[in-house]
């Protein structure tokens, strides 16, 4: 070892010792305990995001609202959570709905098809279609509310997550201002409808 390299190793050594001491002092952060309010909020936020059928249907609602324009684009984010919460109450009260999984898959198929075809229904008819599906989506979320770590946090989490998915859909829908963007959005509608069809087949037992 030359004189220079020995000198260098002596300079590094004290830092190494301090670094080792710092490592010895390290403790787990425990930032995410996933219990109580944190657990309830995390479960609620993730519930609409981890179910692909929920996720694509909610995004499709936002995109379709943007395609329909006013008043759907602003009535939708205000009223959808209310109708969905009504379905949530049915789920909390254990009032059964007919074939909920089929209805949720069907919602992705129908809403995706509406986006793909740029279907321009009268506002009342479009609102009725979305409201029926909102009840089924809310029912699925609400059924898990009583068993969650913190029901209020869970409810707040899934309402906020659903609202943010609508917002994503509306933002994607603004691409329709440009011709190429419009075609891209319609293509996305085809993808959503295809996925909805797959989930529908699976819920009916046609796909393993």
């Amino acid at each position: 070892m030359t004189g220079n390299s020995r000198l260098m190793s002596f300079r590094v050594f004290p830092h190494l010792v301090v670094a080792l001491a710092a490592l010895a002092l390290a403790q787990p952060a425990l930032a995410h305990e996933q219990t109580g309010v944190a657990g309830g909020l995390a479960s609620g936020l993730l519930h609409p995001l981890t179910g692909m059928d929920h996720l694509i249907a909610m995004v499709a609602v936002g995109i379709w609202g943007a395609q329909l324009g006013a008043p759907a684009i602003w009535v939708l984010p205000i009223t959808f959570p209310l109708v969905m919460a009504f379905g949530g109450v049915l789920g909390v009260l254990r009032i059964p709905l007919p074939m909920p999984e089929v209805a949720i898959a069907l919602s992705a198929l129908v809403l995706g098809a509406a986006v793909a075809m740029r279907l321009r229904l009268p506002f009342a008819a479009a609102a009725a279609v979305v409201a029926v599906f909102a009840v089924f989506h809310g029912h699925a979320h609400g059924a898990e509310l009583p068993g969650s770590a913190n029901p209020l946090a869970y409810g707040a989490g899934f309402v906020v997550a659903t609202g943010l998915l609508h917002l994503c859909g509306i933002l994607i829908g603004t691409l329709t201002r440009w011709p190429a963007g419009g075609r891209l959005v319609q293509g996305l509608g085809v993808v959503i409808a295809t996925l909805g069809g797959y989930f529908l087949m699976r819920s009916l037992g046609g796909v393993a």
Partner: protein, 206 residues
Amino acid sequence: MRCRFNRAWVTAAALLASVEAAEAHIVASRLGDFYTGALHPLTDLQDLILWAAMGVLAGSLGTSRGRWLVLLFPLGLLAGLVLNRAFGIVSAGPAANAVIILVLGLLLAAEARIPTALLCSIAFGLAVMRGAANAGDVGPETNQLLYAAGLVCAGYAAITLTMALTLAFRRAEVGTSMAWRGIAIRAVGGWIAAIGIMMVGLALAS
């Protein structure tokens, strides 16, 4: 060189020997109960949602209607706390809280222009309820004056800041093509009302 090496060992040993729990929050000091009172509502999601909804509603109605709450809301919290400690009046149950969340959310979603007297009544009633609810954790060893001061200061800061933020958010849209801001506030109202509906359902189910 040897001397520098020894100094590092001594530093490391001193660091290891001086390990203690971080006491960033001076709960053992004289002002501990003040912080307990101030932080107590901020650790309860019901308080957070109700206070925020009240502040956003007052802020969305404008300065002239909302300014009364700067005084009324903290006083209501104090009144609730005093009523609980002096007369044992307890806060209403979760169903009443859920109904208030629902009402505040619906008023926001509908962009209802309620009169000042009604706004003040709702805010004062809510503050009395939550003041009584927050008094539930006051123990015999708690300094009640410091706890009350903390709660009132938290209420004042929370309601004033929420109203100010809402006013600033709405004011920016005047004269511009930023009408989405009003819709955003109404959408938040829809979210709050939806939470209220489900909590009412849960209260009915349990």
